[in-house]
Amino acid sequence: MSGIVLPIMVVSLIGIGGGVILTIAAKYMAVPVNERVTEIREVLPGANCGACGFAGCDEYADKLINEGVAVNLCTPGGGEVAQAVGKLLGVEAGEVVPMAAIVKCAGMCGKTSYIMDYQGPRTCEACNFFYQGRGSCSHACLGFGDCVNVCQYNAIYIENGIAVVDRELCTGCGMCAKACPNMLINIVPKTSEVYVACSSTDKGAFTRKVCSAGCIGCRRCEKTCEYGAITITDNLASIDPEKCTNCGACVGVCPTKVIRSDLPAAQDETA
């Protein structure tokens, strides 16, 4: 009996001792939280998405008070939050450009194919580790919805094997862009309506072989664009949203119809 009492006592005493020391330390060394930080923290959405560039809403609130960073960094909160924060701090809010996510892949069922019957864990990340994914195009949307799982606004869903963004619900926080292992999701201003629905940097001939909806880098859009908004790098077209005027000239000339302007919510906004 005595053989077990002493060890139990030792372990529990060390445990209790550690607990007591930690409690005392927490009490006497607590860093007083600025009241105004708490106030601002309550105004912020609390999604902790990191769109502002800080680790979460708490850190952003702290930086707002102590380092005077800009008040309009919260994209999910938009203009309302920027104004509320600006009021609390007594500064002009400025403008918040509404952002939204776009998925740069159009390789839905029928356009491209799978090269294997993948049986592993049902996440994009795991599938991507395994021979760079199950699709014949290694840049394709994997379709397991890692982006769907992280979205706090139910703004993204999987349809026909690829991720689709609901522009009305999307706040442009960028959680999905971080979750996508193929980096297919971009955050762009809500006002830009034309986008390239492909991320393949493979050569045109290869892209054409594996997917009928891929960018083959033919440069027709680059030549057509009057504003110099389109550039082709690594066999892939990209549109500079600052130069693009949404004229849609490139949409017509694209032979694989990979440049699109069919974002539903964007049309609602102009109406």
């Binding site: 002493l6 060890p7 030792v10 372990v11 060390i14 445990g15 550690g18 607990g19 020391i21 930690l22 330390a25 927490a26 060394m29 607590a30 860093v31 991507n128 580790f129 021979y131 760079q132 290694s138």
Partner: protein, 193 residues
Amino acid sequence: MDLSKIGIILLSGVLVENFVLAKFLGICPFLGVSKKLDSAVGMSIAVTFVMVMATAATYPIYANILEPNNMGYLQTIVFILVIAALVQLVETVLKKYVKSLYQALGVYLPLITTNCAVLGVTILHFDKGYSFGEALINALGAGLGFLLAMVLFCGVRTKMESAKITKSFAGIPITLLAASIVSLAFMGFSGMV
């Protein structure tokens, strides 16, 4: 304790008995945080710091409480308890008094609470019968060895990003292969001390 002995203990901790590459402890942060140089260095410094602190805290407990009462078998659980509490305490103290260090170590500090390399450092030196001072130097050497392994491997991984890798090896497989080759290189140090 003369200077040459300190040198030998430090060197054996850094090179010969490198915790990651020769003893295969702490592989998780080794593979997880070695993608970017700054986070690799941050993590390693936090690990070194906790290793020395943990050894300083656990050595007296073992020597004064566990050993005299024949309770050496409690070593693992008691050490984990002490290390976990210690890391929490260090975090609180740093947050209050050394804000800059707290921010530099950031998330890495709580992450290493149950790092097996830290537990390994506090336990394995008993096999060699080090004194308290020697054990502290051993812990420092182990931490620096961890830093060396992280920085080396970070360089390998950065190089690998621009390399053309066969599709079937891309991602985790090539990372593990590269880790084993770096480890093989460190095997060359074995038997030196």
